[in-house]
């Protein structure tokens, strides 16, 4: 029986490794992750995925060198701006209380639109699983994730929504995120369609 995921989690890892491989500074990699983010969104929409959650950046990431922090915060802002134009229902979750949270995104954190028919896109910005747990599961409006796709080859969740990913199937694509291709999504969906969904039963 073939089936499709309603909700996909995206871990877009490998920007810094890609930058180094391409003779750039580490912090220059994030800019090259923007186009993939938009392409993935459009590709998922065409394939009737109902919801996507992007792992933007984390509270821990903010401890990196200043150039990197500025670069990924900027890339995140631009990504959200691009997605706003895509006729989707956008929701941002993260720790808004720290200086690392871009104030321009505050309005998007207020409330999830529960009555929409549009595709939903959630964006984790200055997120931390500890912050999430300490605040009574602050991300609770984001529902269960069926499939997590991670680019960049690491086989781990790295603190990505621990309670929404308890039953997720995890697909790891070795390609670094800036080299995203639509076929990665197709391969992940094809693999997922062959998994047995049990939800722990």
């Amino acid at each position: 029986m073939h089936h499709s995921p309603n909700h996909i989690g995206i871990i877009p890892d490998g920007n810094r490794r890609w930058a180094i491989q391409n003779g750039l500074n580490k912090e220059d990699g994030y800019e090259y992750g923007l186009r993939p983010g938009l392409e993935l969104l459009r590709a998922a929409k065409k394939r009737n995925v109902r919801e996507i959650t992007y792992y933007g950046f984390t509270v821990d990431n903010c401890k990196r060198p200043k150039e990197q922090v500025e670069a990924f915060a900027n890339a995140c802002l631009k990504a959200v701006e691009m997605i706003k134009n895509e006729d989707v229902s956008l929701y941002v979750v993260g720790n808004t209380q720290s200086s690392c949270f871009p104030t321009q995104l505050l309005p998007l954190t207020k409330q999830r639109d529960n009555s929409t028919d549009k595709m939903r896109v959630n964006f984790l910005v200055n997120y931390s699983w500890e912050w999430d747990m300490k605040n009574n599961w602050a991300s609770r409006d984001i529902p269960r994730i069926d499939l997590v796709i991670r680019w960049g080859g690491m086989r781990r969740l790295s603190g990505f929504l621990p309670l929404q990913t308890v039953y997720s199937d995890i697909y790891v694509e070795p390609t670094l995120w800036p080299n995203f291709e639509e076929r990665h999504l197709d391969e992940a969906l094809e693999w997922y369609s062959r998994q047995d969904v049990t939800l722990g039963g």
Copy 2:
């Protein structure tokens, strides 16, 4: 730089599939998961692993047919009895309030020995991530897991200690658990030694 995991999480999946492949009833598979559990423990001890946590069975598993529930609860009891003889510090975590929890194991749930030099072995019995969260992180005495090894080919955590596994590297062995071999552990350790530990940084 090569490194070793202090704490390994074990998801011993595939007992039922193994039983069917071997012409047995599903519930007969669990018995064949006992020897592997002990072999793995001894192999890990020899390799200086400090702590192991076994994913025994879950509250959700208890919704399966009665023969299966009886079979895995029994196998779990026997596994704990075997491990007791191994000169390790044993700790059991799970929902003791439901009829599915074997009363014989109650004494082992009381308290983790914090002063031991022995290898630690934790066993999840009638565990549920929802129960864990609703009870103020009931499993909190079990520390962070460095490496999760799952047998049986599924690439998912299935509710296994969501807050201890946030940064875990996840190694999936396709072999079904009753066909465990020591070299699976070696392959997982070898793979782990090549991973970059960042803890989200």
